[in-house]
Symmetry: C2
Subunit: 119 residues, 2 copies
Amino acid sequence: MNIKKFSEVTNLTTYTIRYYEKMGLLKNISRNNSGHRWFTEKDIVWIAFIKRLKDTGMPLEEILQYAELREQGNSTSEQRMQMLQEHALKLEENITEQQLNLEKLQQKITYYSEVIKLQ
Amino acid sequence: MNIKKFSEVTNLTTYTIRYYEKMGLLKNISRNNSGHRWFTEKDIVWIAFIKRLKDTGMPLEEILQYAELREQGNSTSEQRMQMLQEHALKLEENITEQQLNLEKLQQKITYYSEVIKLQ
DNA sequence: ACTTGACTTAGAGTTAACTCTAAGTTGTAG
DNA sequence: CTACAACTTAGAGTTAACTCTAAGTCAAGT
């Protein structure tokens, strides 16, 4: 598919897609015979994974490191696994923290509803 | 306490504290007789709340709106409660999403450990 | 009196992650 | 064969949230 279609499928703007390619997150994107990018299923899967890492708070620079290890093939599996393990641990901690934050907010909301009742 | 001490207590740099004041998040900070800011317990509590909103993904602009309602006194309690309710809802959704993300990452880690075992 | 160090201000600089512009090329429809 | 839309590139501009600089004031210690 062309970049327009890919941008619809991935929900990224064409700007962002080219930016990701320029910074090295997307490699070996094939081109059709008029020099335009041609994206495939594999690219969709890879972008989905990038988005998951990003949405869970991994900075693009770190995702780039992962991408570069991936580029080097199977010999880097262990390093990549380790990156994911560390990230998953941070994520777990973050979820716990957010659950506490949510509780505190709900307490404050309850407090507000008491105050409003008395007005 | 002076800004140095306040920065230690709140874990914000003095730059950030002045920035928050300049943008309107901190109002009516008192001054000592040489014109230096003088922070109190109330300011610590308020900063802690700002940080909670920020850490749960609320942009400073929105926190500023909240701060301005707060400034206007009790008549805005209902609006503030509504802001918090909407925010808490988003946070709840986000936590659910992150839990799914964590599961997916853990699946990937499991997959990696299988691959590595076979190498 | 003078140095030192913490404070003050306005405003400039930085960083991450986009987002856009300008100038040019290519493929298809009329 | 010409208009037009979609693509290409390099590089500039934007936004949020800081982060720092420069130039100055002030209080305490020697």
